[in-house]
């Protein structure tokens, strides 16, 4: 086994992105969808840190911290919406909440 290169990180990142995207698109439970979004964001983070290390530039890591912060806030808001939704509709399934249609 050779050293772990940037390519490996990128592959991991691409895998996480793919898994997250599929999760978002296919799972009905909103909790799972939110978790899948976390996966996508973390795929982005790995990507950022991998290139930061590659270019020896700290900007990417700083940006990753921002993304983590953003993810936390987004999770908090998302779960809040979810609780409100459950109180009103007694459901956590995304396809049962389709009020915004034509």
């Amino acid at each position: 086994m050779g050293p772990i290169t940037t390519t490996h990180y990128l592959a991991l990142s691409a895998a996480l992105l793919l898994i997250g995207t599929i999760g978002v698109l296919t799972r009905r439970n909103i909790v799972i969808i939110l978790m899948s979004i976390e996966l996508i964001l973390n795929a982005v983070n790995i990507n950022l840190i991998a290139f930061s290390h590659y270019w020896q530039n700290v900007d990417g890591q700083i940006f990753a911290i921002f993304v983590i912060t953003d993810a936390v806030a987004e999770a908090a808001v998302g779960l809040g919406i979810l609780i409100a939704l459950f109180r009103n509709k007694e459901t956590v399934l995304a396809d049962e909440v389709d009020l915004l249609k034509w």
């Binding site: 995207t21 978002v24 698109l25 296919t26 009905r28 969808i33 995304a94 396809d95 909440v97 389709d98 009020l99 915004l100 249609k101 034509w102």
Partner: protein, 731 residues
């Protein structure tokens, strides 16, 4: 000059009383109408002779508990009993004050004009001049209206006091006094107005109040009908009045008494300029108005039926107010009637005919109040006879004395009815002389007065009328003869009434007999005062022949300024031989005595004689008892003929022409609306729907994408992102 300038207040006092009663009376003395229905009124109709035991009970003083509910509001009732008569008393005091001041003033006439009431209606008079119709809210006090306001307020006050006693057991107490006060108000407006238009306000007002009061016991159909009859018959006369008034305006250009008299007397007016007979027409139209109010042939029919009202109302209508209005109006228009001798002849003829016609009916009536009602009609006939022969002051004189003795007779009969618990049929009376002595003696005096026994009020005025109808240039032997015959009939029927009521054996039903009682002081006191008036009132107009002066000839001198043209008669009168007047006076007294004697003989000594007469001359008797079938004739001609027959014709016209037009219009509307609806549905609505359909179809592709599912949107995002990637990678 204090009271003189305040004469506009005189009518306002009773108006205040009326307003207080009619607006707030229900709160003061609350009685639901149903309760009124539970207690029938004091009066029976003439055909309602069967006895009502509970009724008698109601009016018996011994059974105080029987009318507990009527006294439930004692304090408030006392307030009503003080306020309403008090208002009339105030009017009387102001009237008396004003009259005293008038007698001291030099010109014997005083006008108070409050404001212009009707103004600014310009139009062309009959002779082409342009004039403006104006009428003031103004009051005129001159000797004529002075006599009238004293009679109205004085007699009116006594009747109010009497009513306090008479109506004590009756419900609707406040309503009764409210109407009574309103009546006095309108009558005062009538006699105090300074122009015909304002007089007409009072004229209509008394018509309204007579309707309200005659129909006071409105739960009883006959009372309601009598009220309506009075109203409708009066309206016929009123049409004459208003036409006469308008004609007067279009010819003379004014309806103000002072101006009218001035124009007519000064000769400024020339009949030729406006056409022949216009003055006669005017006078005749006004006289038609007078026949309605003052119950002359042919419009007298309402008055006997007016007996349906409570007895004080009969007294008020027949003695102090209402019926005197026509006499007053003709007297007020004396200048006009003086210029139209033909109309005056008509007035005299109608008066004389009414006098004897009504007297014959009064001979056989059995209802005590009906006898008095026809007596009133007859006495009014006398007054018109006097007016017709130009003896205006004599008519007012008779009006004045008649007010006393006729008010007394009505109130006395009310007292009798009260004593007998509602009995009005004289066949169930008799022998009441000692049981109700005050009523008996006061009515005795009144009967002497109306019969024309020397020394009593009626003698002076009646004798003067008879003398004038003989001696005046417009008089004639025929008029005198009719008047004399009427005097005899009057004496007869009055003493028939007295004998049947007070003398002889009692025919009172036993159950009523026990409750007979003299009326309370509130009723006997007015009777006594009126009795004094029935003796004294005539002495202000003693015959010239008696050579008295000062107060004893006071009325003629007092009224002279109002009837300046009457001076002609005075001059004419002197030309006759004094011995003739003495003879005629003796003849009329003799006739009266004969009438009294026959009545006494018939109804006291030989009560079987009238029955024999009745069977011997039964057609004549029936004719008189049924009042010459005039009511039936009017029913046939006017009620069934014109009203119902006309109704049939008009009904057919209505159905075919009017309804046809309405139906046609409806059909047209329906047709056009159908067309309009079709256009709306298919063209207008169609266009709107087409537009929306186009939008709907064209929007379909973009619409279906909006599923509302978050993951579908996310899928679009991913697909879109992949598409971009694919595009860049493939490039």
């Amino acid at each position: 000059m204090k009271f003189l300038d305040q004469i506009w207040l005189i009518p306002l006092f009773p108006l205040f009383g009326a307003a207080a009663m009619l607006l707030f009376g229900r709160k003061l003395d609350p009685q639901p109408p149903s309760e009124v229905a539970a207690v029938p009124g004091l009066e029976h109709t003439h055909d309602e002779h069967d006895h009502h035991h509970g009724h008698t009970h109601e009016h018996a003083h011994e059974h105080a508990t029987g009318h507990e509910h009527a006294h439930g509001h004692g304090a408030l009732r006392t307030l009503v009993s003080l306020l309403c008569p008090g208002m009339v008393l105030l009017s009387f005091i102001f009237s008396a004050g004003a009259v005293i001041e008038l007698s001291r003033s030099a010109e014997r006439m005083h006008q108070v004009i409050q404001f212009t009431w009707l103004a600014g209606l310009p139009f062309h008079m009959a002779d082409g001049r342009l004039a403006t119709f104006t009428a003031d809210w103004g009051f005129l006090l001159d000797p004529l209206s002075a006599v009238m306001i004293l009679v109205v307020t004085g007699i009116g006050f006594l009747i109010h006091v009497y009513s306090v006693g008479y109506m004590a057991h009756d419900n609707g107490y406040y309503r009764f006094f409210g109407y009574l006060n309103l009546f006095v108000f309108f009558m005062l407006m009538l006699v105090l107005a300074n122009n015909y238009a304002l007089m007409f306000v009072g004229w209509e007002g008394v018509g309204l109040c007579s309707y309200l009061l005659i129909g006071f016991y409105f739960q009883k159909k006959s009372a309601g009908d009598a009220g309506k009859k009075a109203f409708v018959v009066n309206r016929v006369g009123d049409a004459g009045f208003i036409l006469g008034m308008l004609l007067m305006f279009s010819v003379l250009g004014t309806v103000k008494f002072v101006d009218v008299n001035q124009i007519l007397r000064s000769g400024q007016f020339h009949a030729e300029t406006v056409g022949f007979g216009v003055l006669s027409t005017m006078a005749l139209l006004l006289f038609i108005g007078a026949t309605g109010k003052s119950a002359q042939v042919p419009l007298y029919v309402w008055l006997p039926d007016a007996m349906e009202g409570p007895t004080p109302v009969s007294a008020l209508i027949h003695a102090a107010t209402m019926v005197t209005a026509g006499v007053y109006m003709v007297a007020r228009s004396s200048a006009l009637f003086q210029l139209t001798p033909q109309t005056s002849t008509v007035v005299a003829a109608v008066g004389a005919f009414t006098a004897i016609f009504a007297a014959t009916i009064a001979l056989v009536q059995n209802d005590i109040k009906r006898v008095l009602a026809y007596s009133t009609v007859s006495q009014l006939g006398y007054m018109f006879l006097a007016l017709g022969v130009g003896a205006y002051w004599v008519a007012i004189f008779h009006l004045f004395t008649h007010a006393f003795f006729k008010a007394l007779l009505f109130l006395g009969s009310g007292s009798v009815i009260h004593a007998l618990g509602g009995e009005q049929d004289m066949r169930h009376m008799g022998g009441l002389k000692d049981k109700i002595p005050i009523t008996h003696w006061t009515m005795f005096i009144a009967s002497l007065a109306i019969a024309g026994i020397p020394g009593f009020a009626g003698f002076f005025s009646k004798d003067e009328i008879l003398w004038q109808s003989y001696s005046s240039p417009q008089g004639s032997n025929l008029l005198y003869g009719v008047g004399l015959a009427t005097a005899g009939l009057t004496a007869f029927y009055m003493w028939r009434l007295m004998n049947m009521t007070f003398y002889g054996k009692s025919r009172v039903k036993p159950e009523v007999e026990a409750h007979i009682h003299e009326s309370p002081a509130a009723m006997t006191l007015p009777l006594s005062i009126l009795a004094a008036g029935s003796i004294l009132a005539g002495w202000i107009g003693t015959p010239k022949l008696w050579g008295m002066s000062g107060w004893f000839r006071g009325l003629e001198q007092w009224l002279e300024p109002s009837f300046a043209s009457a001076a002609v008669e005075a001059a004419q009168e002197g030309a006759h031989d004094a011995s003739i007047e003495w003879i005629l006076m003796s003849v009329s007294v003799a006739v009266a005595l004969i009438g009294i004697s026959i009545a006494r003989y018939f109804y006291h000594h030989r009560p079987e004689i009238p029955d024999k007469f009745e069977s011997r001359f039964s057609p004549l008797y029936g004719l008189l008892l049924n009042k010459w079938y005039v009511d039936e004739l009017y029913d046939f001609i006017f009620v069934n003929g014109f009203a119902k027959g006309g109704g049939t014709v008009l009904g057919a016209f209505d159905r075919n022409v009017i309804d046809g037009g309405v139906n046609g219009a409806g059909w047209l509307t329906r047709l056009s609306s159908t067309v309009s609806m079709w256009w709306d549905t298919w063209i207008v609505d169609g266009a709107v729907r087409l537009a929306s359909l186009i939008v709907k179809i064209s929007s379909y592709p973009v619409r279906v994408v909006q599923t509302g599912r978050v993951q579908a949107y996310a899928l679009f995002v991913v697909v879109g992102a992949l598409a971009f990637f694919g595009y860049y990678l493939a490039r």
